[in-house]
Symmetry: C2
Subunit: 177 residues, 2 copies
DNA sequence: ATCAGCATGTAAGGCGTTACATGATTCA
DNA sequence: TGAATCATGTAACGCCTTACATGCTGAT
């Protein structure tokens, strides 16, 4: 069975635009992607090693002075695998919200506890929404760049769902009071 | 460090309402909870064993005839742990949407591929939305039951976010065309 | 001088999924 | 009789997170 590790596809996707180091890849993932996918060094470096062995990417030493630096470049095989993944209709979309779990079992404690949990959730969403909106505004100005349309759409997914979350938060707090 | 396994809290939450077998717990999780949390037998049975050892639940043999059956009951310690968890403000809310990942890297293939991926996503959401709406309708009729308010709110979270998803799908398809 | 940031990696541990393994009962 | 459902569990495997370990460079 082929590997299912999705971090490979994130890496391939990033490398399809530019050559990057593992460290750079981490920074990219921590940006706009982090709203729907995460990555860590303990995740990225082993993936890079495996993918090079498989011929999906090639490594080149770009060390500057005494600072070690390995830059990766995508191969034709890598690009083909990326496209095959994009063309595969199957996609796992999973949401794991502990806040909803707590709310579902809210009856086990006072309603104040549930209201507070909703408020904590609401605050987090509000601040993330600001970040997402700023991504959208930047991207909107340059939608002629074909890639920006894709980036814009993922950011706007975030904006629209987070706005729905906030609407729900108000309603939920009202219902509990 | 204490265990972080959230399945424990799902089990405790369910047992705080009624005594259940591992099999029953799985069925409950596969219901309304499955929209924001998942569980499997390979997950549930070991958790049950550990939690009994820890005195959070107690097991009793309720076998009928030759069919093995173990029913679990929550203890005071279990209820206290459940409340402590509810009162803890920290909550991990994570969304991992492969569809968004694919869309983000959509520029690596034709826009038709991205449109098709959005359509597949849309179909899945539409059918799940129907299920969520039916949960809401049932619960709305009996909001006097205090627990139903909590169940209703989690289901309505699903309805509202899924409706936002669908709105976004239309917009995204239009933008790509 | 020191601290933040650049840069690479490994190791342990935890959690979860999937498949396997077994067997009883109920209903068509 | 055979299939679906009830019912319990284990084992292998994979993936990810966290912490650890190391060292250079540039700015203050």
């Amino acid at each position: 069975m082929a590997r299912e590790r999705k971090i490979d596809m994130v890496i391939l996707g990033l490398l399809s635009h530019e050559d990057l180091t593992g460290y750079d890849i981490k920074k990219r993932i921590d940006g706009a992607i982090s709203f729907f996918w995460k990555g860590s060094f303990g995740n990225i470096y082993p993936a890079l090693k495996d993918m090079e062995k498989d011929g999906l990417i090639i490594k080149s030493d770009t060390s500057v002075g005494g600072r070690e630096k390995l830059t990766y470049h995508i191969t034709i095989e890598g690009k083909n695998l990326l496209k095959a993944w994009l063309q595969n209709k199957q996609a796992s979309n999973e949401l794991k919200y502990e806040t909803l779990l707590k709310l579902f079992f809210g009856g086990a404690d006072s309603k104040e506890v549930s209201i507070r949990n909703i408020e904590v959730f609401e605050e987090g969403i509000k601040s993330d929404l600001e970040i997402l909106k700023s991504y959208c505004m930047v991207l909107e100005k340059d939608l002629d760049n074909p890639d920006h349309v894709y980036y814009y759409l993922t950011a706007s997914f975030g904006v629209e769902t987070y706005e729905a979350y906030l609407k729900w938060c108000s309603k939920a707090k009202k219902m509990l009071n």
